[in-house]
């Protein structure tokens, strides 16, 4: 059955499209992109007044399955992704057990394919059990379809092991995603170290716990020629180091989350665990540096770090509550509020960072509206305003510092392989 998206404003940075264009889809693939398409018998989606963009690609999603299906399942995570405009998500390996061998990668792929809601790519672990001691079988993991490897949730602290991992990963041309955190400087902290942590009497995490590890990994990438992708950047110093490293053509890429772009440590208020994330929300100068880094290309893409948790875990004291918030369903609105409304980015620039660049880093064919590509499409009402109501989330994770906030730009619908998911 043919599907025609008619009258929308297409924003497809990979093809330099930014204007009113129709898109024709047949058997899940884009077959025609033209100013005006007539297709008899095609089901038509009236997209007038809407933006039509490639479906977003999230490099950093925690689906929690296998092991913590009470927090999220591949199905609930995939439904949340679609509602947020994401048609591809890269599942992080800090599940139980960790995704550190082919069997577990296959399990995630099989379940995602059975559901057919979004494309789920897997990020395998760098070390067995994410314990930081022994490398996983990289060849087996990449052969099983992993797009990258990461011990996310914690860093590869051992410098020798990280050096060897970067060297060995060169065989596969894929990145190692580093959760940049020097564990001894992290020191069981629970929020950014600064005036707010001092006021609340909470253990602080200095920005240097991140930038020290970023510095080490840049040095190791330079030494080995390997590719390090820095996850969820949070500090101004890290941004500057990556900027300098890129000037030296070091193979380093980086991502930032919508919440680090939008919020500072002030969001914690009076011990609000909905703002407890790792790395922590930092100071305004860090936030500004992240925005500037995203603008000038130092930071390649936006990734959600969607990290759902149960109510009983998050409704605890700040020390005990787990790090992480639900991010897939608010990402676009938060980005539009933080970046589009103040004219820091244009829509094509934002879509590049939400779809094109993450697909490039993951090495997958997505993030474009190429003729012949799978029809992974987001349709956005740029003039809508909506209120974040976590109880209506598709994700099982209902914790977000944006609860109750009015945000601009709503995802009206998302198509995965041409199939429409209602919002």
């Amino acid at each position: 059955m043919k599907l025609l998206i008619k009258g929308g404003h297409v924003v497809d940075p990979a093809n330099r499209r930014d204007g009113r264009t129709d898109i024709l889809i047949d058997r899940g693939k884009i077959v025609d992109v033209h100013a005006s398409i007539l297709a008899d018998g095609a089901k038509t989606i009236d997209a007038s007044g809407k933006l039509v963009t490639p479906g977003f690609v999230d490099l950093h999603t925690h689906l929690r399955e296998p092991g913590r299906e009470d927090k999220e399942t591949i199905e609930t995570g995939a439904r949340a992704a679609l509602r947020g405009g994401f048609t591809t998500v890269c599942a992080m390996p800090n599940t139980t057990p960790a995704i550190d061998q082919r069997g577990t990668v296959d399990l995630v792929h099989r379940e995602a394919e059975r559901l057919g809601l979004v494309t789920v790519k897997v990020v395998g672990a760098i070390t067995r059990g994410r314990a930081g001691n022994e490398l996983t079988d990289f060849a087996e993991l990449f052969d099983a379809g992993c797009v990258a490897l990461s011990d996310d949730g914690s860093a590869v602290a051992n410098g020798f092991l990280m050096r060897r991992a970067l060297e060995y990963a060169k065989l596969f041309g894929r990145p190692l995603i580093q959760h940049a955190e020097e564990p001894t400087l992290f020191a069981n902290g629970v929020m950014n170290e600064g005036l707010v942590s001092t006021t609340l009497g909470l253990r602080g995490i200095p920005g240097e716990s991140e930038s020290v590890m970023v510095a080490r990994d840049i040095a190791l990438a330079e030494l080995t020629g390997g590719w390090v992708h820095v996850a969820h950047l949070s500090s101004a110093k890290s941004v500057e180091m990556i900027r300098q490293a890129k000037r030296r053509d070091v193979r380093v890429t980086a991502e930032v989350t919508p919440h680090h772009l939008a919020l500072t440590e002030e969001a914690i208020g009076e011990f609000d665990t909905r703002a407890k994330v790792n790395p922590p929300l930092r100071a305004e100068e860090d936030r500004q540096a992240l925005i500037e880094g995203l603008r000038d290309g130092t930071i390649d893409c936006i990734a959600t770090d969607h990290a759902p948790h149960t109510d009983w875990e998050k409704e605890a004291d700040f020390d005990s509550a787990p790090f992480g918030i639900s991010g897939l369903e608010t990402a676009l609105g938060v980005c539009a509020h933080t970046l589009i409304a103040p004219k820091l980015l244009t829509w094509p620039q934002l879509i590049e960072r939400l779809a094109v660049n993450p697909a490039r880093i993951a090495g997958i064919e997505a993030g474009t509206l190429n003729i012949g590509a799978w029809a992974d499409v987001a349709i956005i009402d740029p003039n809508a305003t909506w209120t974040v109501e976590p109880k209506h989330f598709s994700s099982k994770g209902r914790h977000t510092p944006f609860a109750g906030r009015q945000l601009p730009a709503a995802v009206v619908t998302a198509l995965h392989h041409g199939a429409e998911a209602g919002r």
Binding site: L200, G201, F271, D317, F318, D319
Partner: protein
């Protein structure tokens, strides 16, 4: 008690007492004034008034404490309230029950006031958000210990006749001290000047910006002693040495311990205060702790009156009236 702020017109309208950061100077003064009216009860042969008869108070101590728990217990009993002590050693989460599960169970038994002590900052706030009962923070992590600061203010006022204009030096482990934080808020709100003193490892970042009008930081003990009306010492714990925050307790004493010799440069009427328990020979030598400047035991006595006042005020707020104390 003399009034520095218009406590006569202040009314207690809060359900809870979670810290001094969000109290107005008038509210702080109201507590102190109320405490003054309760102080004499403990001096009577029959140390009991019926002010809180029929009220049920729970001492919910997730972290061990003898003196604060006892002080609250006696305060409740002297107001004729029923009090239950619950010592939940360690985290209740380790037993599979969350803090909120524990609180919901207690509330199902229709209690009126929860006095909460916890090793994690913010637990009383969490409980207060979910509980209909009044919550009194009896110390949460390194955050606040409001009744300790109130009894410190009360003692300073008792001994000096005023808090406004006093120069108070808080010496020791500021970074991990809930007592320091509550005192910074309370003292600066009442117009005292605060100096914090300790090695850089025990001074938290941006602490100068806390309090109204800010506080001064020095790493030199002599500067903290000179001109101070009050020297408030904080306990240095052995864990700080293990965490490499001080090389040794001996070295700490050499640089920051209050000895009789060091007091020679102090004001002749300086007050020595300590929230207890004193680490004798570390932050405070025995002859100073037991010496003529020390008001450490007065602090304990006043703690009872202050906790009676706090229990009385939050109970009154929860039932919506303000009866006389006796």
């Amino acid at each position: 008690m003399a009034t520095e702020h218009a406590e006569q017109t202040a009314q207690w309208t809060k359900k809870d007492l979670l810290g001094l950061r969000h109290l107005t100077p008038e509210e702080i003064t109201l507590v102190l004034h109320t405490a003054a009216s309760f102080r004499d009860i403990s001096l009577r042969p029959i140390k009991k008034v019926p002010a809180l008869r029929g009220k049920t108070i729970v001492n919910l101590f997730f972290e061990p404490s003898t003196r604060t728990r006892t002080s609250f217990e006696l305060a409740a009993k002297r107001l004729s309230a029923d009090i239950v002590n619950i010592a939940a050693a360690g985290s209740s989460l380790s037993k599979g029950e969350t803090v909120l599960d524990t609180v919901r169970n207690l509330e199902a038994m229709k209690v009126d006031v929860l006095v909460v002590r916890h090793a994690a900052a913010g637990v009383p706030h969490l409980i207060a958000q979910h509980a209909a009962s009044s919550v009194i923070n009896a110390g949460d992590g390194a955050h606040e210990h409001p009744t300790q600061a109130l009894l410190d203010l009360f003692t300073m006022h008792e001994k000096k006749g005023r808090v406004t204009g006093l120069q108070v030096s808080i010496i020791g482990d500021i970074a991990h001290s809930r007592v320091a934080r509550s005192n910074i808020w309370g003292l600066t709100k009442l117009g005292a000047r605060v100096t914090l003193c300790g090695p850089p490892t025990l001074i938290p970042p941006h602490v100068e910006q806390l309090g109204q009008g800010g506080v001064r930081v020095t790493h030199q003990l002599e500067e903290a002693i000179r001109g101070a009306d009050v020297l408030m010492l904080l306990r240095i714990q052995h864990e700080r040495q293990e965490a490499q925050l001080v090389p040794s307790l001996r070295e700490f004493r050499l640089h920051y311990g209050i000895t009789r010799e060091r007091l020679a440069s102090a004001k002749p009427d300086v007050l020595i205060m300590h929230p207890g328990p004193v680490n004798r020979g570390v932050e405070l030598d025995s002859d100073v702790a037991d010496g003529p400047y020390s008001v450490i035991l007065d602090q304990v006595t006043n703690g009872l009156a202050v906790r009676m006042a706090v229990l009385y005020l939050v109970s009154g707020a929860s039932r919506g009236d303000h009866e006389a104390a006796d």
